[in-house]
Symmetry: C2
Subunit: 454 residues, 2 copies
Amino acid sequence: MSDMMPRNARHNDINAEASAYHTSAATHATLSIIKGDILHTPTPDDFEVFENGYIIVADGTVQRITSDLPNEYANLPVTDYSGSFIIPGFNDLHIHAPQYPMAGLGFDYKLLPWLERYTFPAEENFADPAIAQRWYKRFLNKLWSVGTLRFSAFATLHAQSTLQLMRLSQQSGLRAFIGKVNMDRNAPESLIEGTDDSLATTQKLIEKSRKLTPDIGFIVTPRFVPSTTPELMQGLGELVERYDLPVQSHLDENLGEIDWVRDLHPDIPSYAEVYEHYGLMPEGRTIMAHCVHTSERERALLKARRVYLAHCAQSNMNLTSGIMPVRRDLNYGLSVTIASDVGAGHVPDINRHIVQSIEASKMLSMLPGHQGEHPLRLPEAFYMATKAGGAFFGQVGSFEPGSDFDALVIREGDNPLGLSPQERLERFIYAGDDRSITHRFVAGREIPLPFPEA
Amino acid sequence: MSDMMPRNARHNDINAEASAYHTSAATHATLSIIKGDILHTPTPDDFEVFENGYIIVADGTVQRITSDLPNEYANLPVTDYSGSFIIPGFNDLHIHAPQYPMAGLGFDYKLLPWLERYTFPAEENFADPAIAQRWYKRFLNKLWSVGTLRFSAFATLHAQSTLQLMRLSQQSGLRAFIGKVNMDRNAPESLIEGTDDSLATTQKLIEKSRKLTPDIGFIVTPRFVPSTTPELMQGLGELVERYDLPVQSHLDENLGEIDWVRDLHPDIPSYAEVYEHYGLMPEGRTIMAHCVHTSERERALLKARRVYLAHCAQSNMNLTSGIMPVRRDLNYGLSVTIASDVGAGHVPDINRHIVQSIEASKMLSMLPGHQGEHPLRLPEAFYMATKAGGAFFGQVGSFEPGSDFDALVIREGDNPLGLSPQERLERFIYAGDDRSITHRFVAGREIPLPFPEA
């Protein structure tokens, strides 16, 4: 798209920190002022747009957005991205870091042969710390490039390489929750752990990461019910309680899996309740990926526990899992976020997952049982990819006062058609890619490419 | 993906023509020998793969592929793309050139408001030759970049800018059919022509382009039945006959449109038969876009006339048109190709449309009436995007002997996982983009970026 570069764009490579400024005001806050076309979604209803607006950031937190620069800030330097637009960073609540190297492979296969032929061998590689080092650096570079500034990732069952991913993530400047995967049944022998080993290793990793990676949290990560014995789930639930940890797993991805869980746990009425039963659904701190085929009973539980549902539209198409009934879930009051599910999703680019979520929703709106449902609109899907997922990390994902200033600066070609900022954002979401993202900020700090050598 | 570049790739910028060689053999053909991992789909069943193979090209036409270089060629220079893979170029049989600037806009709207708010105003701009010049150059650069080497495009109703597109396409080195759009009813006043004017202008354009653009054919392009009166269709049918021309239009995109056609032509049993009735379905030379909701009767006609069906999976999702039942149509013996339908499709990248076609097919396979249908497999979709569409241009779209040598050279990262050439192609199709395409050949000639200044 280099041919689309604006001829008159001002090229600002001013580092935000360089332009920060110690005021003499009582707060002594480090202030930054950033100018551009500002768009965000405080609610799913619509974009709030400040054309040629200003964001005032103090110590990494948004103070306010204004259309005109107030007098009190008149003498402060402005980092000027005029001609570009500024949006919150993307948050991806479900991604398998070790599957990045094989993303895009094997989709002529169904889920089980796909796992056996591609996913498990790919994950086995991560027993080797050198492989983990190389690929996790590339993984983080890639997330950075596509504007995913916060994420929650499955690593593998290997403690050492999981810690590596946590340390590399800490170095990268991105923010994340990362979990060592636990599996002690129904997986290839090379990926099965002893139950006690699995728990002991996990506990050690929790302790280590608390010291080593202040910005990267540990998240308890049973792969999914079929691959974790009751004893393991019980033990993991105790770790959740003891260390006050969040949890991520898979739920109701496809019908065969649901039958399998019913066979494994005939005494527990639903799949979701298995997690709950073992203490693996801490309130407001749980991510459940897919949720394509939830029952009413499960939805009530997911709502009560304020679970984050990670909608993986691309993955659900690739693996023929089905279409998540997002409109129904939103109407019911569930929190739905947009996630890549790399490697069952083939690209990590959240802008493309926004589009795919809208497309899936349109497909569903034509089907019996869903006719008359209004398909997802762009501001709703954008909200799901920014603020809805950002909440897992605190006040993140919009530019409302008090939010962490996580932002992408996007320069998306010249504008001979006279498009509005919202239309230009729309075109970026649908037809743009990382080449248009010129700057990335996490909690007020500009983040350079994490590992240029990787 | 620059971080994924192979460290040991040989960088060949040898121009194919520079390496051409006049043999002393009886043929006196200009021979080129190209080396790399060669993949193509002579049939939809599977890829044919020649790892470290050679393609012998004589005067722009494939002579043969071999795994080892025969002695008779031992002294000829080889253009060596070892480490890269070589595939046929992509062919896009349905794209609206003037809609490229607004691709990705307005998809929260349904078809009619989308047309009124975005498409028609975008097309009106092309009355201005300066706008046409600027945007058509960018359009051609973009097709080049994503590897679409042949295409069939709708221009606008403006004769001058349509001729501009034809001349620019001729300059670009790409190959195409291009049509001035005809509309004399049911469109905004600024886009309606008088019937006689429309016919006279079209005829002049046909005559001019025959002289000026030897590699770019004119294709008769009624927008669709609702926007062309019977008189206009009759006149266009006469031009088809008189100048032996191909035809492109839209068919059965959505249910409202089908009802509309039925109201407009109550005496003709089906939508497809309206085109046939007016001489707008020349055998083996007609493209019909969408065909989402064809009737049995129509399918019989499409088969008898050997019509090219352009499957626009992305557009059909964006505009909530439905899912084309591709498996049923293939089983029936119809020729289905893959098309971008930019701007109702948001990107022209055919690799992404291959993926989206597979995804749509998987979605459909879960629905009542289609359960048990095998979703499209990658080699089938690749065939649809290369050989099936290429046939519209002659023997194009595979490397079988006698085919035009249309090719993309793709360098897609290093290969620490030891992926096979087919897996690397698969990863490119799913997760790659134009940045991996390093060389493009049309009928044996390497094509540089057409308009570096645009």
